[in-house]
Structure formats: C-alpha cells, structure tokens
Symmetry: C2
Subunit: 380 residues, 2 copies
C-alpha cells in the first residue's frame, strides 16, 4: 500500500511514537497535575517535556505559552473566539480551511465582521490585497501558512510585518506546515499559532497545539477542573491551566513529544526529500496528457508536499477510488474541507485528487503512483 | 505500588485496551470520515464500533446520539453552553465538580441564572430541595450521578421524573459512574449524559462522551472540518458531525471501544468486587482511631468505590504524601476540583485523602492500605 494522505494525518508514525504511547499507557498514565503521587507527577513531567520540545521547535522561550488541545480545529476555535469581540473586524483568505471559515461564520452572528480576501487562481495570497482589506476596527488577520489544497505557501512574513505596524494581531494556521517548514517565532513573531499534533509533528491523533504570545489574554472556550486553585469557582488565570480544563490526553501528548523529537533530529533530511519528491512528481505529472494540475505553475515555486490534480473529465472521487481499488494508493478526493479554495482554483464542481507526501514516502512509491496515474489517464 | 486514584483516571487499563490502541496506530490510523481510501474507511468503521458499543452500554438505540469529546469536561461544557440561553435558569448541586461549576460561572456573565442547591453534610442531594429551587424559567437541572469526593450516589431517577413532569431538561454528569453503575437510558431517559472515556469505561485519556437525546439541538462550541458537506461555510446539522469538528482521536476511541467491551463482559463481577472492597475498607477504617470518614455514615448505603477521609489533624496532602513515599500507595489529597463539596462536608480547609478503587484492586491491596493508615494514625 502507498499512503499519500499525509496532509490529512501522517501515517505511519515513527516507531518511537508508538513506543512512547505504549510506555506511557502501561507505566505511568495517571492524571497529570491532579494528585501528588509518583505516577501523577511523572505524567505531569512527561507532558512538560512535550511542551518544552514544542516550544523549542518553534523557538518559543516560555513552554507554558504552548497550550495542548485535541486538534488544530480546537486551537483555531479557541484563538478566534478567545480574541474576537463584538464590533471587531477580522481578515482571512479564500484559501482557508473550514476550521477557520466555519468558526468565523459562527462569530458573524455575534457581531464580528469578516472579510475574506480572494487569492489568485494559483492559490496565492497577495499582501496588497490583505492591506486593502484593513479597516479601523480590524483586530485580527487569520491566515493559513500553506494551503491544504494546493500546497501554496503564503507570504506570512510580509503579512506579519504589516499587521504589526498596524497593531493588528496575526493568527497563523500551521496545520500544513508545523514540523514541515521551519517556523521560528523569535524571528517571525506571530501572536497566535495553531497546529495539529498528528500531521507534520508526527504525533498521534487527538493532539493539537495553540501558541499564545505573552501578554495575550483569551476568553476561555471550556472551563473546568484544572488541578489548580481548586477552591475557586471561576477559571484560574494561570497558564497553561486556564486553557486546558479536564484530563489531558497524556498518552497522545507523550507520543507527540516523541514525534517532535523525531522531527527535530531529521528535519533537514525530511524537508530535502519531500521537496525533491514533490518536484519530481510535479515534473512528471506535467508530461502526462489529460492531467490538470493546480497551484503554482512553476514546479520550483515554494510549496509543501501537497499536490492537487484531476485527470481529464474524471470526477476526483472516481479517480481516487480507482487509485485505491486498482493500485492500492491512498489519496484524498473531493473538497478537502476548504470550499472557497476550490472556488478560487476553479474546482468547486468536482474537487481534486490530492497527493500528500510524508516523511517515509519513497521515490519508488512516487514512480509507482505516476504509473498508476498514466494508466488511468490513458483510459479516461 | 498500590494505585487507588481510579476516580481521577483508571490505571492500569485492561490489556485489550493497550493492544487496541497499538493495533490502530500501527495499522489503520488514517483520518476517519475524510478520505475514501481503505485505511480512512477502516478508521471510520472502528470509530463507529466504539460509538455502537457505548450506545449499547447505555441502552441508547441510535449510536449517532453518542458524541465523542476529549474528556467529560468538554462534554459538560458542550452540554451546558449548547442548551442554555440568556434568561434561562439552571439548577445544580453543591456536590458538583468544577467542570460543572466553572462553566456555570462563565455562563452567569451571559445572563444565565444559576441556583446551587446545598446537599446534606453527608453529601446527598434531597429531591425536595431541587424541587423547591425550580422557577418558571428553569431550563435545565445539571447534577452529578455520584460525588467524586464522597462516592455518594444521587437520587437521579426521582430528579429525572420531577424534571420530566415540568419539561425541564436533565444533564447527568456520569464522570464517576459510567462503566461502574448500571445506566439504562431507556429506563431512565435523561436528556444529556456526560462521561469520561478514561475512568470507569477503562479507555485511554483523551476520550469522553456526550449523549444527546433525540430531538435536542445544541449550539456548537467548536466548528470546523467535519468531512461532510464540505461545500458549506457553516457547521452542518448532521449528527454526530455537527459536534465533532476536526480530526478525532482515533487510537483513543478505538482503545475506548476495547475498554467498553471489557466493562460489558465483566460488569457484574467488577461491581460486586468494588462494592465488597469498599464496604470492607469502610468497616475497617471505622475501627481506626483518629480516622475521620466523610459521606454516608452507613457503610451499606449506596456509593461508588470512592472513600474520602482524614487522619487526626494531619493535612490531607501530608497524609497522602506519606502514603506515597513510605508505603507506595497512590491516592489523591486536597480539594478534588469540587470546592463546594468540601464546604458541604466541612473539609474546605484541608481537603480529604481520597481512595478510589478500580477494576483490578485486590483485597490484599486494601489490607496493606489499611495497615499503612493504621501506622500513620498511630503516630499522628
């Protein structure tokens, strides 16, 4: 089987991740931060180690600014709903995932104004277009670091500087880039960064992160037991507790720690291979008659290991189904939870077949995938 | 090591739970409901099996009414914030956990009125006191099934009938009882039931459940990608998708499925043993000079396997610390995230040492624990 659905969730994970989850579950998965006995203390310590590893990866000096969530969707909801107040204006792009667009739709009903800046047909966001959308009450710009449909990398640094000049907050959705691209928050200090644990960070599903810049105070989305200031009937101010009510996913977080360590040790090598494989794949696809590619025309343009395409008039679901059934290749067809991105690139009618490369994808697998595409294209 | 902190999280889990998590992570942990390839379909199918097992356990006919969350705290937040509107009145009890009290504190700021009915010094809730608190705008009664401090089981059936007669909704917090007591929602049809996956249901941390009765429509707390109706910019109405945005914790949920299966196969036996051990423990504790017990005086009164006590004038943290350091016994001291419960039973100053029995606790372990308590009591 060839797994090319890493943009949905990375699979497989490094061996160390499986072992970390198992070790945690079997030997110390007590309730972290709740009791004082040795297992609970160990659980708390190991969660801290993941927090620290995540902070280091993103060049954040205070690990307590890294909040654990269930997934990037929760991180994005917490960020958007925690920051935006009635009367605020927020800017986002047409390449966003529903995990940004749907919370913003919900916020519109509470008096928040939303501008969705259209991207180019290739899926890129123009900083000038963002600038033109700024209003006196613009409080936040929420933008994806890279599109989950086309792999297009957005000009985050320019947008960040523009936002900073105007004292507008910037929320970066790093769902497609955390663990994949270098993200240095000391050098590019965005205010909020949301990331899944189970994609490029190679951790288990059920994990996500939200970085909250020092000095930012968010409304909470969930209140409850935090193991701290238990005598108070209101949510404590203390971070990370304020944003982490209820029992954490200790085994998942410990596994995420192992994933982040793997990423840290192998990053240059993973990046180089993913870039090479993506370029090779794009170059070869360009030669296949009937294949329609989306995103940047230039195969050397910066992008993640995500390639969207269609074959002739074939519905994307039918093409992906054939890849799965006849060739044992896992891809994702359809709309990829980003309807406006599909409208932007002109595929709202049939979606795209998305191939997303992972840290263990090989050249041989990409050659086999290309053969399969050629066969489907020649008969469609 | 003797682990008596099962009310915080059950430990260890059945062997089948570890194996299920590992099998899932290693062989099929793709993104459920997102793509159509065989791994994603298997992930979706296995999640459905857990949903079905949970529905069966609670006698719910439609598995899609069982929503997966990250923990009971999230379930309770979703239930309370999903149901209550400005102007509504809600009744709860003084024995509730902060996972109910803190969301209600937050809701007060949005025009929701809250009455906290005081319980007796033994921790029990009188149905008459609930009835007296009902107002014309009472929309919801939120009550714990059993106290996490004293193990006291609340008169849910009486309260449910009272609520039903007055068309008031009932939210049951089954954090301390799901998987431990028989909960038959066909026979005792509460409107909402919140449960953790990682306590009595013996699943991994990072899992929780919310049962939503047919016909109830909640506001969402998180919106995002659901893998369904991706073309829509607003959250779909479809259940369970409406309440389950973002990638689910597939390994955790699959592990929870194994935990629920274990509970189903061994329930009578677990219940009998936990009841016996609890009674034995209470009877022996009553004989120890200096031990102060909380909750029902009668050792035969219905209660879960949770026993709170103090030794002489010793601070609960000091007693628990000695149990851990000198005797290798894991308990939980302090306030147990339920401040009003401690005020109710008179332990707000120093908390209690809580012993909570699990499915693998043995009589030998309880005898060793009693010996340790006797030693501490004789020197304090």
């Amino acid at each position: 089987m060839i797994y090319l659905d890493n943009a949905a969730t990375s699979f497989p994970k490094p061996e160390a991740v499986y072992r970390a989850v198992e070790r945690c579950m079997r030997t110390f998965a007590a309730n972290p931060g709740r009791s004082g006995h040795k297992l609970a203390l160990q659980a708390g310590r190991e969660i801290y180690l993941t927090r620290e590893a995540a902070a280091e990866l993103f060049h954040v000096s205070d690990p307590f600014r890294m909040i654990f969530t269930a997934n990037a969707t929760e991180s994005l909801n917490l960020a958007l709903k925690g920051i935006l107040q009635p009367g605020d204006h927020v800017i986002t792009s047409s390449m966003e995932h529903n995990s940004v667009l749907r919370p913003l739709s919900a916020l519109k009903e509470h008096g928040i104004m939303v501008t969705i800046v259209p991207c180019t047909r290739q899926g890129s966001l123009e900083p000038d277009a963002v600038q033109a959308a700024i209003q006196p009450n613009t409080r936040l710009i929420a933008v994806t670091h890279a599109s989950n449909v086309t792999g297009t990398i957005m000009p985050v640094k320019e947008i960040m500087e523009m936002a900073r000049d105007r004292q507008i907050l910037l929320l970066l959705d790093a769902s497609q880039t955390a663990g994949i691209l270098d993200i240095d928050l000391a050098e590019c200090p965005v205010d909020l960064l949301a990331a899944p644990g189970h994609k490029g960070l190679l951790g288990p599903q059920g994990t996500g992160l939200l970085y909250i810049r020092e000095g930012l105070h968010l409304k909470t989305m969930k209140e409850g037991g935090t193991g701290s200031r238990s005598e108070e009937l209101t949510q404590p101010e203390l971070i990370p507790d304020r944003y982490e009510s209820g029992t954490l996913n200790t085994p998942g977080i410990v596994g995420l720690g192992a994933g982040i360590q793997y990423v840290k040790s192998h990053r240059a090598q993973i990046q180089e291979r993913e870039t090479q494989l993506t370029r090779f794949f794009l170059e070869e696809l360009k030669k296949v008659k009937g294949v329609i590619l989306y995103g940047a025309d230039d195969v050397n343009a910066p992008r993640t290991g995500v390639v969207s395409m269609n074959i002739g008039d074939l519905d994307s679901c039918e093409a992906a189904c054939r890849l799965d059934q006849e060739f044992d290749i896992c891809t994702r067809p359809g709309l990829h939870c980003a309807p406006l991105a599909h409208r932007t690139i002109g595929t709202l009618d049939r979606g795209t077949v998305r191939f997303s490369i992972g840290f263990e994808t090989t050249e041989a697998e990409m050659i086999e995938t290309l053969d399969a595409i050629r066969q489907i294209a020649s008969h469609s």
